[in-house]
Amino acid sequence: MTEQPAPQSRSRRPRARRRFSVVSLLGELLITAGVLVLLFLGWQLWLNDIIFGASQEQAADELSELWEGELPTPEDAAVQPGTGDPVVMGAPAANEAFANLIVPRLGVDFKRPVAEGVANAVLNNASLGTGHYPSTAMPGGIGNFALSAHRTAYGGSFHNIHQLVVGDAIFVETKDGWYKYIFRSLEYVRANGVGVILPVPQQPGVEPTQRLITLTTCNPFLSSAERIIAYGVYDSWYPRDGGAPAEIAGLASAAGVR
């Protein structure tokens, strides 16, 4: 008691006597692996969509500004649909962003760029994300304007496609103006169901008379077993110099307005 050797030995013992333990190392590695798996799932199901979605919407806003810059925005609030047949643009170059897809039902701020082609260079791109099947109709054209985008991950543009309600508006913005389509129906097909992007869906060889839009993505979530298809029919068009339709005026104009 009076010698008090304790402080010295107490401070030395834990360091000197600590031995390498395989079990504790294994335990720490397993805990680390578990944390990494959880982080990956959080990234895949949530964080990555936010990152990609934000950058795709920013890219869409930049496209709008580019197109807006070519013409002055009218002050007149009473925007009228254009008369006659809509202007239909020519086919763009591969991977070129030529339109914005605006679907309020898919998200309050839902506005994503559309580029030519459905390769990964478009679909997995942080500033593109939505692809146009080459050789299908262009926006407003007679036939089928067919698009594809991810359901989950890479921005997950079409995540809520199953929540579309008959009558929902689907807008396509190009340098020429805005094309309004009305959602009609959903269809579920297998991965080889190419009939859905025909000029008249599921009717090979039939000459088209209607102007349609078709959105394709995978179904169910995180699987590519099936495809979910959303069809819309053309309703009206709004020339660029007449201004954006009132329903999407806030989204369609430059990014700063929001």
Partner: protein
């Protein structure tokens, strides 16, 4: 493993905590930018288009 890391770090406890936070942030950045996209492309089905 983590005990050894803690002892290998220099300085007082608060400095070690800061260093560990910086290290964790760096690891997370590498994971999100490169490792997770690679794993995702290898494991998760990515086909969303219809084709023959």
């Amino acid at each position: 493993m983590y005990g050894a890391l803690w002892r290998a770090l220099p300085g007082p406890a608060w400095l070690r905590v800061i260093i560990l936070i910086v290290l964790a942030a760096a690891a997370l950045t590498v994971l999100v930018l490169w490792v997770f996209p690679l794993i995702d492309s290898l494991t998760t089905p990515q086909d969303v288009i219809v084709e023959e």
